[in-house]
Symmetry: C2
Subunit: 208 residues, 2 copies
DNA sequence: TTCCGCATATGACAAATGTCACTTTCCGGG
DNA sequence: CCCGGAAAGTGACATTTGTCATATGCGGAA
């Protein structure tokens, strides 16, 4: 099995290479120490798996991974990180990484590589324990704090589905002009300019 | 430990009650068979944990759970379901449920309840295996397939930030009319009606 | 070169949108 | 009972938006 290894810290890279190659199953085709190199080396070697640090100088491992997956949707990316860092986990997961394991657990790295190559996904215990917590919805947007009424709330939702004023009026059994007034008031309360910004607001602040 | 149990199927509810109470540790304070009841019974009993089916007549367990969490952010909700149903898992997770286990694994239900009460989250093996896959980004939107050019792509993004035609024109050094034309063409290609729908499309199909 | 296609642009127009000032209706507290 | 304030509506208006027909310039293919 050929792998490419990327680690900020050359020393870590080297010792890992030694450990991994000592298994006899794994060959470290190339190694690098930056996100840019990760992409380049992946293009060059098309390894079975790329083993990559997350925190690195310059381009993060996540960004590099995203780029690699864009070019090679089947790429198998396994992140190796020093400690379980919340945002990174969620990013790595949602990006489609095949795994995320802690460097401390170095004895599981080789087996994890095997598993990943076979198409499995691997996440360390401590990682998986965090997932539910991470996936909790962001704290709900506080409509009350902005003085937004129930009716206004439902209007936001309809705008955010792309309905016209007329359509909204129909759904809520209101006059079209009334809907316009509601939207006008909403835009005022939220400091926005038009319905498109309202939809954007919905997706980024409320539902995002 | 007091729990409230909600199951569509009265028979299941009854046998589970028997099983759980036979441990001596668990008391089923109340049981119901619908989402509405779930909310009501939660309000009434404030159980340590609420054990709830997902698929039910009327309001789904997810919706009921959402409502309960809205009123009681510390509520511990444990879903019990017949089989691992993809959308449900993701919904339950992102909603902030404390767990999601299969009815088949009835021997783990009691221990799971304990764990949840202690603040842990619990997910069955088969469930956890699905998480990475579920979190994968939706397959990237294929601009080419819809014949969308680079410039059009960047215009979508600006629209999705809520910019007006004039502002977009300024950013891209184009005439305002030109921007209108691009958007018009874009709407045509994507089968949409106005810029708001375009923004919605961006957040739901492209970036969502 | 000529021709085609693309990107860019303009002008005219209808429709949708946002703003504002002003009713009407209704409901609960005094 | 009357009052005041929501909720809902109307009409007028300026602006923005989307559509369309058409024009110009530019680079590549025939």
């Amino acid at each position: 099995m050929d792998i490419v290894m990327i680690d900020d810290d050359r020393l870590v890279a080297l010792s890992l290479k030694t450990i991994l190659e000592s298994t006899g199953q794994i060959r470290v085709t190339a190694s690098g120490s930056s996100g840019a190199e990760a992409i380049e080396l992946y293009r060059l070697h098309k390894p079975d798996v790329i083993l990559m640090d997350i925190r690195m100088e310059g381009m993060s491992g996540i960004d590099a991974g995203r780029e690699i997956l864009r070019e090679f949707p089947d790429a198998k990316i396994l992140y190796l990180t020093t400690f379980s860092d919340d945002e990174y986990i969620i990013n790595a997961l949602s990006m489609g990484a095949k795994g995320y394991i802690l460097k401390q657990d170095f004895e599981v790295i080789a087996p994890s590589l095997e598993a990943v190559m076979r198409g499995q996904s691997v996440f360390g215990d401590k990682i998986i324990g965090k997932i539910p917590e991470l996936m909790k919805p962001k704290e709900r947007f506080d409509f009350d704090a902005h003085g937004i009424t129930d009716k206004e709330r439902s209007i936001i939702e309809l705008v955010a589905e792309g309905l016209s004023n007329k359509e909204i009026a129909g759904k809520l059994f209101l006059g079209e002009g009334t809907v316009r007034n509601y939207i006008s008031s909403l835009l005022d309360k939220l400091g926005l300019r038009d319905r498109t910004q309202l939809a954007v607001f919905y997706y980024t602040e409320i539902k995002g």
